[in-house]
Subunit: 331 residues, 2 copies
DNA sequence: ATCACCCATGAAAACGCTTACATTCGACCG
DNA sequence: CGGTCGAATGTAAGCGTTTTCATGGGTGAT
């Protein structure tokens, strides 16, 4: 069907070995034969079969990324970061996202086997034994934003705790004491860490104030509802800290509808610094997570693991967050 | 290194053929041997090597996606749509994005060879001869949003023309005549089509009015500058139509800063319906492009091509857009 | 002129899998 | 009881590469 190295060899009247050598730029080929081979290859539009090649070289120049079904912004930024870093190294990207449960994740993982040199894994369904059961022992792995305490694997986490902590400190610095949190979904690792950061900072910086947590699920809708609930409280909080920007935006709408002014009546803060944060009115004070950076660094780290399989790579690295002050908490 | 089918065969005291048969659920294996094989495979944590398998089956269960360096929103939605559709068919996704020029695109294309069953190609650098030179003749392809008049390939385009046309008609229907366009980048196909739709509709619905085009490049910054330019005109337009939402948002900021009210003083419209459109104040009237749909349909179409290689698939399909009326053009 | 050596080239094995074909064995039929 | 058939299993080829090793011819030194 497609033209193979054999066709080129036949046409150029040499062995396949010589074609391979010529095409891969090995030195031990006469200039004359090399030219002939290249000419024939071009004429025939020969293109090497990647899978066949990697079968024997044991390198695929591809890395796999296993991702959960992410909210758009995060997903796109992450992939972009990974892809960018991959590209500078000549690597390609096999992605598998939106898998709902552990079985799907396992299937996706196994399907990548033999097609990738290493994997970036970010999945709520993943734990150490899951990985052990579904991946060969030697496969280089970097875990992204995972609760697994990395005994065996390299991991890269967002400093959600630190970000939330810093935000609360900032709000307290602005004079707020009654600070409510609109939390993320129950079983979400990011959400849990942000909650922990909030609690810890409240204890530290506003020990007398009551920590007040409303449940949300990272959607705009849940932020909106939380905003309405806030307004019905006997004593309204002075500031609201939403565990992500989308919920902050939803909350903002609820406040606006009720005629409550932000930041004059209530301060509002978010988390993530997605583009929307900058476009709402007033622009949102938030915690920036450099997601593309996370992706890029994860890839770099994975490459390090691939390049040096002997070393142990079991540390958890943290990715800093950054406080972005805009107008939603007062100027 | 990793455990192969041979290891399983040895351990289960059968031939590799039987292992293969047992694992792939062929019928001609005794229940007893099958059980033994499965047990051993599990014990050894055997996982088949994807590349080796697809080398002989000539199926990879993977489709490739070649994308330009897209603005985040579009990229993420497209991939999501493709991935979703792929997942329901048990296919995986090999993406390669952010390639800057034709050479990079060519390299990416060739690197996918032998690793995919077909490809989704969306790239400004692609034309018919490029594809001919860089892909084997038989490879199933679907072109996305391409200027190529599809003599050889299946193609799927966004109806940018129709969307822009409809928006201008809408604006005229609201009583506006002097409608300015903030256009997209010079060499961009989407931008060109939207411009064409604008021109065509202006001629049709506001023949006496002067079509007024400001250059932009799809960035917020360029929208902002265009907004400033508009304000300096002797005669201000009654409505501004930005060729994408991000520029509309930039323009909106410029107008706000100058104290010009939207929509009372000037109406403003965008294109794409990215989430931001809904969050700015006032919310943006825009043209919705169901990007995820585009991705999903492209994948479906590609699968059709793959499943029936004999048929000719050279038609261009159009993906409808949808007018979304919010408050930025008056209520 | 002989020999050793080097270098270009070819033959063939290997990568891990699937599958066409060959083989074996027991059962069944005449 | 011999022959035929079918089912289970094994053997080996083949997918498209790369790479090791063998081969052979030319070159320079003796």
């Amino acid at each position: 069907m497609a033209v193979t190295i054999k066709d080129v060899a036949r046409e150029a009247r040499v062995s396949v070995a010589s074609v391979s050598r010529a095409l891969n730029g090995h030195s031990n080929v006469t200039d004359e034969t090399r030219r002939r081979i290249l000419r024939v290859a071009k004429e025939l539009r020969y293109m090497p079969h990647g899978a066949a090649r990697s079968l024997i070289t044991r390198r695929t120049q591809t890395i796999g990324a296993l991702l959960p079904d992410l909210h758009g912004e995060f997903f796109s930024e992450l992939i972009r970061g990974v892809d960018l870093a991959a590209r500078t190294r000549g690597l390609h990207l096999l992605v598998s996202s939106s898998h709902g449960d552990a079985n799907e994740a396992a299937a996706a993982l196994r399907a990548m086997l033999g097609r990738v040199d290493g994997m970036l894994v970010m999945s709520p369904h993943v734990d150490a034994s899951f990985l052990r059961d579904n991946l060969p022992a030697g496969l280089p792995i970097v875990l992204l934003n995972t609760p697994i305490t990395g005994q065996r694997y390299a991991a890269l986490n967002i400093d959600n705790f630190g970000g939330a902590y810093a935000m609360v400190r900032h709000l307290v610095g602005r004079g707020h004491r009654r600070i409510a949190l609109i939390a993320g979904p129950e079983n979400n690792f990011d959400a849990a860490e942000r909650l922990r950061g909030y609690r810890s900072a409240m204890e530290k910086f506003a020990p007398k104030a009551l920590a007040q947590v409303l449940r949300g699920d990272f959607t705009e809708e849940s932020g909106y509802r939380a905003g309405q609930q806030l307004l019905e409280l006997r004593q309204r909080p002075q500031a609201v800290f939403a565990a992500n920007d989308i919920m902050a935006a939803g909350c903002l709408n609820a406040l606006k509808e009720a005629g409550v002014r932000v930041p004059q009546d209530i301060a509002l803060a978010g988390f993530d610094d997605i583009p929307i944060a900058h476009f709402v009115t007033p622009p949102l004070t938030t915690v920036r997570v450099r997601i593309a950076d996370l992706g890029a660094r994860a890839l770099d780290r994975l490459v390090a693991v691939i390049d040096d399989e002997t070393a142990v790579h079991n540390s958890i690295q943290m990715l800093d967050t950054e406080l972005v002050v805009r107008q939603s908490c007062g100027t």
